[in-house]
Amino acid sequence: MPKVTIDGHTIEVAEGTTILEAARMIGGEVAPPAMCFYSKLKTSGGYCRTCIVKVTKGSEKDPRPMPKPVASCRTPVMDGMEVQNKTAPDLVDARAGVVEFLLINHPLDCPICDQAGECHLQDLSYEHGLSKSRYDFKRREFDKIDIGPNIKLHMTRCILCYRCVKVAEQVCDSRVHGVLNRGDVSEISTHIEKALDSDFSGNVIDVCPVGALTDRTFRFKSRVWFTKPVDAHRDCKKCCGRSVLFMSGQEVLRVSVRKDTWGEVENTPEGNPGWLCNECRFEKKSASDWTIEGVRNIDRHSVISQNKYLEVKNLKIDVSNQKLIGEKAHN
């Protein structure tokens, strides 16, 4: 089994594992960010270049370093390979350049965008990007399209990661959308405004790393940091029925899949990706449709955890001892 050292952490992985997957096994800061790679979608990755790493030692047999940064999602590890991610300042600089390229045509309309607060491009540009764009030319412009009754496509925000195309290929039963045109003018579209009506087409919203594909039933309803995410499940014949409900009071504003540390869909206990069907996602918008398991654990650095307080049940005041008595609900 090849042994690989990433940012000073050595790990032994199976043959054929990519550098990105090995780095994710180590976890934390070592793992490079990824905008297009999605471990649960086959043949994804290799488009966005945000996961580039510096290989300082090719392998035990051939210790020469690789001449250029490589895309870690597409490069398998070799025995004795040494990789630098966060520890190489020139690589961080190169990644900042990649982020700037991704942002060239991005409208930066985060105040309007429903993805703001859980957008990978927002996190990435906050971490690496400049606060001001250096691009003086006209940005790409597209009209907003409704792909079916539930999904909205903002092509101006798209970074062409192809994840939604892979979802249509591998999760849905038929693919009716793809990338039209080439180069600078390429766009995600259904040809001649066809609707996405496959049972699992709603999952394109969850795989989209930016706000290009958003939920029309949640459009402008609330900002994600004002909602309260709870884990919930229901019996569904089509899908696993395990979801996160974004609630406001007793109202379910949005239903999404459960996402793991890397922003990818969580596996079910059986080991399959927990994709949701459109019925669960778009139609079950009442708390009574779901069995609520409890408050979802959100990373405390995330904006979603802002202004959230612990719920206290049965609050009483013990006057004689000047004490507040109550029990915590959920976590």
Binding site: C110, P111, I112, A116, F220, S222, R223, W225, F226, N307
Partner: protein, 179 residues
């Protein structure tokens, strides 16, 4: 232990003849009163007269419009999340066709409320705003007898469209400018 040198020990001493007359004490008291009649007053007659405030004074909020009279606010919620007193709430709505002259962006705040009793006038909402929509002004918060009237909606916060109903915030923004 003596804490200050201004403390006096209370004694039950017998008053002198002058003190028992009380008259000199009354006169000296009146002299102080009359002196104050000729001194400069410490108060102003608000609202007829308004005391000058610092250029960066943080008073009542305003929701600005742009030069074409469209509302700047796009209901992004950053002011509400920045607010330490949680005084701001809002509901967003989508701009319809034909409303382009009312709202600058495709999303706008259908409801925007600030609870002035909660607000601590810290100005963090202004700092958080990415659209230059909310500003604190040099106006004072008017008093009221009813708590419900302190929840200011868009009717009280958004400035008017006409030139004379605009709220001038240039003094404040220029004071913040470094150059």
């Amino acid at each position: 232990m003596q804490l200050t040198n201004r403390s006096e020990v209370v004694v039950n001493k017998v008053m002198t003849f002058k003190e028992r007359l009380y008259f000199p004490a009354i006169i000296s008291g009146l002299v102080i009163t009359v002196k104050h009649l000729f001194k400069k007053r410490a108060t102003v007659k608000y609202p007829e007269e308004i005391r000058p405030v610092a250029p960066i004074y943080r008073g009542l909020h305003v929701l600005k419009r742009d030069e074409q009279g469209r509302e700047n606010c796009t209901a992004c919620g950053l002011c509400a999340v920045a607010c330490p007193a949680e005084a701001i709430t809002m509901t967003a709505a989508e701009r319809k066709k034909g409303e382009e002259h009312l709202y600058r962006e495709e999303k706008y705040a259908a409801v925007y409320e600030i609870n002035m009793l909660r607000c601590i006038f810290c100005g963090l909402c202004e700092e958080a705003c990415p659209k230059e929509a909310i500003f604190l002004t040099d106006r004072m918060l008017p008093s009221d007898m009813n708590r419900a009237n302190f929840i200011f909606g868009k009717d009280k916060l958004v400035e008017g469209v006409s030139n004379d109903s605009r709220i001038d915030i240039s003094k404040r923004t220029n004071a913040h400018r470094k150059d």
